[in-house]
Subunit: 142 residues, 2 copies
């Protein structure tokens, strides 16, 4: 049986204001800014910085008071929120992971930046650490 | 001016019991176990797993009720605790980082696994994310 994850993809940090947070992560820590995108299917801004080794820091700014991460921010303040591991195919992992004791929270994959597909695991099964899985878009068929 | 950090080194996760936690991180997630060590100068067990890209997950188990992380566990439960970035020399960084707006919590470096040197930054200056710096041992002079 192959391992459920390929490798660490990114570490998510929830922030109240991306531009203000970048004055710390980009300007003070010197981490290279890779891209910043507003997701179409959820009011959230995702900003990636290069942490080395192909691993990114992802700044996550909820853009509406109704977004669940706005309540997370009110409770916890800015800080570490989840670890995302790369998988080959999120839709396939959503089928196989529950059988490995890793239930998935989503019914459908959600959209990550750059057309990626992603899903959250059930926090109750992962010892207090929120895990996400993500996969790259399939190459278009010719 | 050079960037204050080289690259992401590890992500620390506080656990109550390392052996029990390994049944999840090693056995269920399939992350390769690299080493497990009890630190001589603090009653804490540090266990590293390979997350890919040269980045480790570090399981941190406090071994006495008086260790500050025991209070952290009682308050937060198991979970993400800090990000550690590699620097060339922790002692030198402890001198230069405060001038870059990154004050250091330690007066002296503490011992990491495998003879490494480490120090914690002041949480109040790092937007809710605890940062550590670590450097490899100096090669012995001939």
């Amino acid at each position: 049986m192959s391992a459920p994850f390929q490798r660490l993809d990114h570490i998510a940090i929830i922030v109240r204001d991306t531009d203000e947070a970048l004055t710390f992560y980009r300007d003070r820590l010197g981490l290279p800014l890779l891209f910043s995108q507003v997701m179409p299917d959820a009011p959230v801004r995702l900003t990636h910085l290069d942490a080395g080794g192909g691993v990114h820091l992802q700044l996550v700014q909820p853009l509406s008071a109704e977004h669940p991460l706005s309540a997370w921010l009110d409770k916890n303040g800015e800080g570490l929120q989840h670890l995302c591991f790369k998988v080959d195919n999120v839709a396939e992992s959503m089928v196989t992971l529950p059988g490995l004791g890793l239930p998935v929270r989503n019914k459908q994959p959600h959209c990550g930046p750059n057309g990626r597909s992603a899903a959250m695991l059930e926090l109750s099964a992962t010892r207090g650490v929120q895990f996400e899985i993500a996969s790259d878009p399939r190459p278009a068929a010719n």
